[in-house]
């Protein structure tokens, strides 16, 4: 019996991972102009939020650092508000709040949604049916009404906003994870693992989780603007961040009262919301196209 010829790794086959693959993703992203614009906006926003203490020219909550409702000038690039606070500093600090809410809320929603989705997708049919019923019930509840109820019970605060956003997003993520898990669990490689004797924790953790987490993170990045506008909206309605903590929503609300005298605070509070929304959306869409072209059809 002659031995089979040894197959050598010619390195020719489809895209080898590692640094080479990363560089390839980067090159693909660079060709996507909107994606690059999105990346730039996101980097600007995250950077200014992290370095807010350094970047902000004045203390955001300090009153009468200049005249009241002043238009933009060299001293105050975005003017001042009705209490004479520097609007640019407030916008930068408001970005930090917005990002914090987004990270905390989405982080909680993502991890809980992932867990529940895996259970619903991999568990028995009756459990899946029951969990779906709960997901859909939560989702059917109008967010603002739900927020009003929670604020009435717990009082307006940053953590209330985070709680509301997290609870209302969990079912969305859980549903995505559940659907993905269900289609994965009938794949041959899962069957092969079971035939080898792998238990449920191993199958979920080692084989299913890495396959659902990527698309989920992209989905979450596209939800960041949603959360930021929700936070701004709740704060605008007085159900979110308490004054004097700056938030884009409270900046808008404060400016709104004086819009006839000075439009600057409203414009200054609105533009970062628009830019951040566009930034995360562009970046998320570009990432989705690069990593998983199929996802476009699935969603």
């Amino acid at each position: 019996m002659t031995t089979a010829e040894t197959v050598h790794d010619t390195g020719e086959s489809e895209g080898v991972r590692g640094p080479g693959a990363l560089r390839q993703y980067w090159q693909q992203l660079r060709q996507d102009h909107l994606g690059m614009l999105g990346l730039l906006l996101v980097v600007l926003m995250v950077g200014s939020a992290i370095l807010a203490d350094v970047v902000a020219p004045y203390e955001a909550t300090k009153v009468m650092v200049g005249p009241r409702l002043a238009p933009p000038s060299w001293d105050h690039w975005l003017g001042t508000d009705h209490l004479g606070r520097d609007v640019l500093s407030r916008v930068i600090m408001g970005g930090r709040v917005a990002l914090m809410v987004a990270m905390a809320a989405l982080g909680a929603a993502l991890s809980l949604g992932l867990l529940l989705g895996l259970i619903a997708g991999f568990g028995p049919q009756w459990l899946d049916n029951g969990m779906l019923l709960i997901f859909d019930a939560v989702r059917a509840f109008p967010v603002i009404i739900f927020a009003l109820a929670v604020v009435t019970l717990l009082g307006p605060s940053l953590s209330t906003v985070i709680f509301v956003v997290a609870v209302t997003s969990i079912p969305i993520y859980a549903r995505v994870v559940r659907t993905q898990t269900q289609s994965l669990k009938n794949n041959e490689f899962i069957l092969a693992e079971r035939a080898m004797g792998a238990g449920t924790p191993r199958i979920l953790g080692v084989h299913i989780l890495p396959n659902v987490i990527g698309p989920l993170l992209i989905l979450a990045s596209m939800d960041v603007p949603l959360v930021i506008t929700l936070e701004a909206g709740l704060s605008f309605l007085g159900m979110g961040v308490r004054p004097p903590t700056p938030s884009w929503g409270t900046i808008l609300n404060d400016g709104y009262n004086y819009i006839r005298n000075s439009p600057w605070p409203v414009v200054a509070g609105g533009i970062p919301i628009i830019l951040t929304t566009l930034g995360f959306t562009f970046l998320g869409e570009a990432l989705r196209d690069i990593f998983d072209p199929k996802l476009r059809k699935d969603l």
Binding site: M1, E5, E12
Partner: protein, 332 residues
């Protein structure tokens, strides 16, 4: 191939690239195939050799990242590459039609067979009733029992073999001059496969159309086809009549391919022949002979000069191999 017959389809030196993130993949290079009137031409080769790409290029149903870089596709006297989208649409489903590999997805799942079969006759004159009758006749011809009532059924109510029969009925409804068949029996079981091959043979004889039959299965090609084109890594390496190819293969790849087929090995063996090595990467332009890395007869000339097609016999049997070059001296 047989002389005298005017060719219905002439693919001349067709080259085609696919754009990919890692560069251009040269999927077809200088492919020349001729389909005479009323004959069945088989295109054989292993996965990735470009045989399906060729069929899709002819009917111009390629993905958006494909780009023809050279050559022409002459069908009934006109170059298909010069036609605009509207002219091409007029040809499809009229002068040429296609059947696909997977009969499970080739039919619209939410419309009845009747709706789909009447729809594709939209260009034909005549009323609804006539088109319906025409559809029923076509189903009858491909061996679907009780066609009148089966017209009301949806695709999922048919088995795989029946669905492929329906696809064939639809493709031949317009009596096209050219039928492109992309691995139509691959998804079917052996006993159904022979039924479909016999059906194709009978229908081709009745209608008199030409068929370009793409397959990786040597057995079905030997059984069905008159002429055979062997492809490897995007190039045509050998062409000839079916007997030439199977009884007297000229190219080392064709020889190796035939040797590997366990169906041709009469004696029971525990050690089957294989073709060592891998199919070359088509990202760069390959130098020399495309088969040089796996060829048992490789010599110096193969490494830097691309072989031309040399005649093996006078009847049009040619292969692209330096060994067949009569003008050159034999390698030492």
């Amino acid at each position: 191939m047989t002389q005298g017959d005017a060719a219905l389809l002439d693919v001349n030196r067709l080259s085609l690239d696919f754009g990919s993130p890692r560069g251009r993949v040269h999927a077809l290079r200088d492919v020349t195939v001729s389909v005479p009137k009323g004959r069945i031409v088989g295109v054989v080769g292993e996965s990735g050799c470009g045989k399906s790409t060729l069929a899709f290029a002819i009917i111009r149903l390629l993905a958006g990242n494909a780009e023809v870089t050279g050559g022409e596709i002459v069908f009934e006297g006109q170059n298909l590459l010069d036609l605009n989208a509207r002219q091409m649409r007029a040809l499809r489903g009229q002068r040429m039609s296609m059947i696909f590999q997977d009969p499970m997805t080739a039919l619209n799942p939410i419309r009845t067979i009747e709706q789909q079969m009447v729809d594709i006759q939209y260009r034909a004159p005549g009323g609804q009733a006539g088109k319906r009758r025409h559809a029923a006749e076509a189903l009858d011809r491909v061996g679907i029992p009780d066609p009148e009532s089966r017209l009301q059924a949806y695709p999922h109510q048919f088995s795989g073999g029946m669905r492929q029969r329906i696809c064939i009925a639809m493709a031949l409804l317009v009596e096209p001059a050219l039928l492109l068949a992309d691995e139509p029996t691959t998804a079917l079981d052996a006993t159904l496969e022979v039924q479909i091959i016999d059906l194709l043979k009978d229908l081709q004889r009745d209608i008199g159309c030409s068929v370009l039959f793409v397959s990786h299965h040597l057995g079905t090609v030997a059984e069905l086809c008159d002429d055979v084109v062997v492809m490897y890594a995007g190039e045509v390496v050998e062409r000839g009549s079916v007997r030439d190819i199977f009884n007297n293969p000229g190219h080392p790849y064709t020889q190796a391919l035939l040797q590997c087929d366990p169906g041709r090995i009469r004696e029971r063996t525990r050690h089957l022949p294989t073709i060592p090595g891998n199919v070359p990467n088509l990202l760069g332009m390959p130098r020399g002979c495309i088969f040089k890395d796996r060829c048992p007869h490789v010599f110096d000339r193969c490494r830097h000069e691309r072989p031309a097609h040399h005649a093996i016999a006078t009847d049009g049997h040619t292969a692209s191999c330096h060994l067949l070059d009569q003008t050159a001296e034999a390698p030492a």
